[in-house]
Structures are given as structure tokens and as C-alpha cells.
Amino acid sequence: MEKQIALQLRGITKRFGPVLANKHVDLDVYRGEILAVLGENGCGKTTLMNMISGIYYPDEGQILIDGKEVVIRSPKDAFDHRIGMIHQHFKLVDLFSAAENIVLGLEKKGRYNLKEINAEVAKIAERYGFHLDPAKKIYDMSVSEKQTVEIIKVLYRGADILILDEPTAVLTPQEITRLFDVLRRMKEDGKSIIIITHKLNEVLEVSDRVAILRRGEHIATVNTDETNEAELTEMMVGRKISLNISRSAPVNAVPRLEVKDLNLFDKEGIQVLKDITFTANGGEILGIAGIAGSGQRQLLEAIAGLQPAADGSVLFYNPKKDRPVTFYHKSLKKVKEMAAQGAFHDRNLNDVSFRGMRDKAIRKWVESGDVLFREDEEMNLRGKDPLEIRQLGIHLSFVPEDRLGMGLVGSMDITDNMMLRSYRKGHAGFLDRKKPKEQAEEIIRELQVVTPGVSTPVRRLSGGNVQKVLVGREIAYAPKVLMAAYPVRGLDIGASYTIYRLLNRQKESGVAVMFVGEDLDVLLELCDRIMVMNGGRITGFVDARTTTKEEIGLLMVRTEQREEEAHE
């Protein structure tokens, strides 16, 4: 039987300012097939699909449905042409039941009868093999159930062409299998399904054909059973775009942070970190790899003092050797105690002891800058909160993955966000706004933050610019340890490289950088050493210069750490 073409794209082009997101894309989708759209992050997959579902409007080209040209200007237009898209971020009202969310916005004639709607929804669910209770509230649902609601919402509106944007990113393997079963059943029902993904194994498992996009261009469409993983990779990546990160060899790598046998339990008493032991060196970027949720976030938060670790230690070596003692973070009493233990020497390397001296004289001597530390200071950060850590004079910077939740205050402007770091400075209880403002202006200038001005709420900035502000603030704090969790998540290529350059510059100035990343290519190019975690444990360390993706991939799924690899 000849297959019918359901949807045709002809020469679709879309620009965002100077960026060409899609370039003359031609694509055919047949009835009763699953088409996978494959491509790397930022290759224009989602943009292309957003044009079909009415979120964007193409600059050039035509969209044809059943051979007729159509104009899709809004999601409603798309629905009228029986196209439905399931976005990565669900749009559901938490307080409503599944059925209420499904009928939301429909202006149907006749009485609104929830019982009938529930029955209709249950019928659709049964037809495609979903497990869904129409009366269940969204806030009681798991991610996979919410996705089911979104899919049924689209089906209820009579969609024949379904677009799923990275539907498996948030699902467990079992849920993925169930989703694929449902997709196959819909295919048999004559629906056209477009699934956007960058995971090759899923493409091979579920799709009939694969369309490969690279940098906004449609490279090829191949039949799934005539291709293999290697061929797809080659088409997807093309000529490998080498990352332009100039990685220098670590200079003077000295231990800066030493974590020993750290254990952490969450609120429910489940162990999220188990026997974590590693050293982060100054002048080095330590990459942390692992499947999302393997304890990377908790580890950084435990070090930053945001999560109380059960036991173990986090030792910080403050580089004080041969530097003058100050009263900045220490009381006179503490200085005297330390002198009695022989912690200081003078410029001629003689022991400093304040025995028999008056306080005033001690003060004078210390303030003259001639009293120096004999060794680096060693401090245990475990059990201290961020304020206590700061009061110890330890410059520890943390770029959390939740930028606008933990990192910055969205409704405050850039200056005020700078002050989150410095509000304790200033005189006699008054805030010093001048310096943070200068700092904000400097960050805007140096990192080329695109913003109308320093007084714009950071919430209004784009993701990349928000991240620049956050990273800029943390770097301006002159950290000794810089921890960054997924700092380039959601950022475009340009912004990502700015962040990489910033991290590299910090490394070169002797900072111990810890980088949690998800893109293995970037980890391999940026880091010096990579620590791999799985299930709250460290499963291995590798040298980023010599290792391969496959090696890291194996470590990411391994459950036990092998002894011989522990300190490679």
C-alpha cells in the first residue's frame, strides 16, 4: 500500500537575529510512521518543530498538510490542522485533575459534565494502552503520568500529527519502554509521530525513519533498518567541530580541598553520598561526570555548607604560607593562641611568640605586616554553614545549577544581586551600593552581558546572560575554590564558550575549579582530571587528556569503585 504524505516542509528557513536556526529544510512525514529527528543540542530540531506547532513562524518556506499549503501562526492554528506538540516542560495546572487539564481551553457546546469527560479520557487512554486515572490530580502524579496527560490532551483535541520533544529525557527505562509501546500503537492507528531526540539507541529502537539535522540543515533522511549507530553518528556530528578551548597544563597544582570519607543523607534518611574521598587541586579543573542525580549536586552543596554531612571531613588548605597575619578574620585572642603554637614567623624566619608583650604592642606588630604564617592554614568545613565559612576568610564560590532559585534573585537587579555577596560590608549598618554597582558595570562590560542596564531585574535577561552575571559575581569574589554545577545548561554555543574561558582563566590563576557537566565532549576538552560518580559514590578517576568517552561511560554505570583506579 502506498504511504500517504501527511506533512511536508519545503525550504523552511528561520533566523534569530544573525543566527540561522534552520536553513532550507525539506522534510516529509508519512501517515502511520514514527519519524525520529536526530541532531546534537542546538542544531535546530526544536526550532523546526516549534514552527510546525505554531510557536514560531518561518521566515521562508512552506508547510503543506495533505498536499495543501497551510499557515500556522499560533498553537491554536496547529490544533486546527490536527497537529499537537508535547513540550519538554509540561504545561499543566497542578491543582486540576487529569481530565480537567485535558479539556482546559476547549470551547465545546453543550453542558460541562466531568463524568462524561472522564469517560471519554479513559476511553482514549484504553485505546492506546495508557495507564491513567482521569480524576487523579496533577500534583499527585509522577513525571511519566504528567507526560501521559500531555499526550492525551493532544489526542483529545484530535491531533493526527504528534510531535514529542525529547520525551524520554525525564523517564526511567521502564517508562520509556511503556511510552514506546504506546507510540507504536498510535502509529498502527494511522497517526504520524515525530520524536525529537539525540539518543541513538532510542532512534534505532522505535523509529521507522530518521531525519538528521546538523547546524540547522537537513542532512539526510534514512530508513532506520538500513542504517546503524556509526553511520548516524557520522551524519549527526559530521566533521567533528573541535572545541576551541585552549587547555593549559596545570601549573603548581597544590591540594586545595581535600574531601575524606564524606557521607550524606537526605531528609528521608536515604544515603545520597557514600564515602566520597577526593582532592581538588589549585590550578586544575576537576570535572565531575555522572548520570544526572548521581549525587553531584549534593556533593557540591555539602562542600558549600548547604547540606550537613553526616561524617567525614572537608579540609580546606588556605594558602597563607609566608603571608602576613591580619586581624581581618581572627581575634587578638586567636592570634595569641596560634602564636603560642608556633604558627607564625617573622621576615627573618624566626619564631614569633608574643610572650610577655602587651596587647597594644602585639597589635602594632601584626598590623605592620611583619608577622607571617609558617604554613598554609588547614580548616575543616564540615558542619559549617556558608556564613561561617565566609567568616573564616575562606573564599569559596558556588555556581548552583538552579541559577534563579539558588544563585540569583530574579526580581532584583544586577547591582542588588552583587550585594548578596557583599551586603555585610559597609559602614555602621549602612549598605555600600557604590562598589557593587561598579562591580556590576564591570561584569557587564567584561563578559558582554546583554542588558538594558544595571538596574534591570535579572529575571528579564536571557539564560546565558543570567549565567554570566552569576559566574561573574562568583569570580569577582576572588575564590580559592570555584564550584560550578552544569554552568552551560541551556546556554547557546557562544555563551558556553565564554563560561569555559572564564573557568580556564580561573584555573590559570591558581583556583581549584570543580566542574559538573553533562556533555562528555566538553568534559574531555576542558578538564584536567575527571571524577565519575554513580549512585552517590565515586566510581573512578580518569585523566581527561588520555581517556575516552567510552571509558567514562562505563564508569558512569558501574556500581562499585575498583581499587586500582581510585587514584589514577
Binding site: 504545561k91 495546572v93 491543582l95 481551553g105 465545546k108 460541562y112
Partner: protein, 317 residues
């Protein structure tokens, strides 16, 4: 016994003021807007009604037309307030709390000027009995239950039904919970917000008219409308955003509010001048207790609408 039955009926009649205020506020809050201008709007609704009644009160129009003219005046003035509030908070996205408080100050002041300038004979003495139809001839507590009392009950029941049993209600609640989602499925968020806020204001405004012209029927009544407005906002929390429950809640508030004056009839309780204000704060105490209990139970359905107090702007992330 008769005293207590009278007391209950009186509380019910008195509570109708709260039914108006709270139902209006609930509709507004369900659209995601916290309208603290309700006390001012109730004053303006009362003043508008009085102004129109003073024009037709002694004319030879049929009684039901005079009542309608009064209601029309009330609706007109409160709609104006509601429209000011909507324009500022929905279109211009001004801060809702500030706008609401300003509107209360404005409404209370302007209403006092208007009512003070009116001749009580023209709008009160001549029309009071018209509003108390069908119980105009009675002298017991039932006499207070006139046209506007029954209208309050009907409005509360209809609002509850619309909100929880119709498509429009579903859409309105979606707007108050998650406007971005509502927008994505093609609901006109701005229109829903405007209509809900304006209708809510109109309903609240009728409460002012009811209290001044019908329930109290005295020139001084306008002075206490503002306080009743604030109690209405408290009642919204007390009934956990359920319009039909305002009838019950308003009776409880009515009982608590006026229990002081009835306790003087009980021989073994001594109510002095000093204890009356203490008794008058009972409704607020009960509201605080309800807030605490509902917060501890933390049931999602009993929480305020999720986007209450937040402006919605499509292009903002």
C-alpha cells in the same frame, strides 16, 4: 429561646453583607488578583446606590423600578472602581496590594463625601421598606430579609456553581492557578481577569448598598462599611475560596460580630464597655485559627490560587 432565634436570624441577615463582599473577592482572587480595594468598593457601591435612590426615592415610579435604579447606581459605581483596579493591575501590571489599598482609601473617602451631602429622608426613609419586600410589614428579625438578602444568597450559590461546575469556571480557575498554561491552551487570560475582577467588584458593591439602605437603614451606617469590607476579605480565607460556603461563614461571622450586644441579655454574663471590643475581634481570631489549621493540613485544594498577586505577562519568563 426567642431571643436566640432572633439572634441567629439577625446574624444571618447581617452576614449577607459579608456574603456580597466575600463572593466578589473570591471571584477576583480566583482570577489571580488580590483586590484589597474591596472595602473601598463596598463604600462606593453603597454611595452610588444612595445617590441614585435620592434622585428617584420620592418620585412616583413603581417600587420595583426604584429598587432597580438603586441597584443600578450601586453597580455603576463599583464597576467603575473595579475597572480602575483592573486597568492598573491587569493592563499596566501595577502592584496589586498597593493598588487595592489606594482604592480603599479613595473609595472610603469619596463615599463619605457623597453620602454626607445627601438628604437621608430622600434615600433612606422613603425607600427602606421597598428593599425589605416581601417582609416589609414585619417588625421581628425577618424584616431585614428583603430583596437584596435573597439576591446575596442567589449570587453566592450561582458563583459557586459557575466556578466549580462549568467550563467558564474551570477556565477562570486555570487563569488564577497558572496563567501561562491557560494562555497556551487558548484561553484569553486578560479577558477572564477583567471580567472576573469587574463582576467581583459589582457584587461587593451591592454589599455596601444592602448594609446602608436595607439592613441598617440609617444615615450613620456608611461609617462602618469599611470595617465590614475588611472582614469580608478575612471571610474569603475562612471559607477557603468557596463562594457557596460564604453563606455559612457569613452567619458565623455575623454571630461572632454581634454576640457582644446579645450577651447583655444573659443575666449571668457581665458585658462591660471594656469587653465589647474584645468580642468584636472574634471573627479575626477565628480566621487566624482557620489559616493555621489549613496551613498545617496543607491540602492543595485549600490553598490560595497559585498565582494570586502575580501579574501575568506572556513574554516574560
Amino acid at each position: 429561646m426567642n431571643i436566640w432565634l432572633n439572634f441567629l436570624l439577625d446574624s444571618l441577615a447581617f452576614g449577607a453583607v459579608f456574603v456580597y463582599g466575600s463572593t466578589g473577592e473570591i471571584l477576583t482572587e480566583k482570577a489571580g488578583h488580590l483586590n484589597l480595594g474591596i472595602p473601598g468598593i463596598m463604600c462606593m457601591g453603597g454611595a452610588g446606590g444612595c445617590l441614585f435612590l435620592s434622585m428617584v426615592g420620592q418620585s412616583s415610579l413603581p417600587p420595583f423600578l426604584i429598587v432597580l435604579v438603586g441597584i443600578f447606581g450601586s453597580l455603576l459605581f463599583s464597576l467603575l472602581c473595579g475597572f480602575i483596579y483592573s486597568t492598573l493591575t491587569i493592563t499596566l501590571r501595577a502592584n496589586q496590594n498597593v493598588t487595592g489599598l489606594a482604592l480603599t482609601t479613595f473609595g472610603v473617602g469619596l463615599a463619605r463625601v457623597i453620602v454626607n451631602k445627601l438628604d437621608p429622608v430622600k434615600y433612606l426613609t422613603s425607600t427602606k421598606s421597598l428593599f425589605r419586600w416581601p417582609f416589609a410589614d414585619r417588625t421581628d428579625s425577618i424584616q431585614y430579609m428583603g430583596v437584596l438578602f435573597f439576591l446575596a444568597i442567589i449570587i453566592a450559590l450561582v458563583s459557586g456553581w459557575v466556578l466549580f461546575r462549568t467550563r467558564i469556571g474551570l477556565h477562570l480557575r486555570a487563569v488564577g492557578e497558572n496563567p501561562a498554561t491557560a494562555d497556551a491552551v487558548g484561553i484569553n487570560v486578560t479577558r477572564y481577569k477583567y471580567v472576573a475582577t469587574c463582576i467581583g467588584s459589582c457584587i461587593a458593591g451591592l454589599g455596601g448598598l444592602y448594609y446602608i439602605v436595607d439592613y441598617m437603614g440609617s444615615q450613620e451606617a456608611y461609617l462602618s462599611v469599611e470595617a465590614l469590607g475588611w472582614l469580608s476579605i478575612a471571610l474569603v480565607i475562612f471559607v477557603l475560596w468557596r463562594p457557596h460556603m460564604t453563606i455559612l461563614g457569613a452567619t458565623v461571622f455575623g454571630v461572632l460580630y454581634s454576640v457582644g450586644s446579645y450577651l447583655t441579655n444573659v443575666s449571668w454574663i457581665k458585658v462591660t464597655m471594656a469587653t465589647t471590643p474584645l468580642l468584636k475581634m472574634l471573627p479575626y481570631v477565628v480566621t487566624i485559627i482557620v489559616l493555621i489549621v489549613s496551613s498545617i493540613r496543607n491540602k492543595k485544594e485549600n490553598q490560595p490560587p497559585a498565582s494570586l498577586g502575580l501579574s501575568y505577562f506572556r513574554e516574560e519568563r
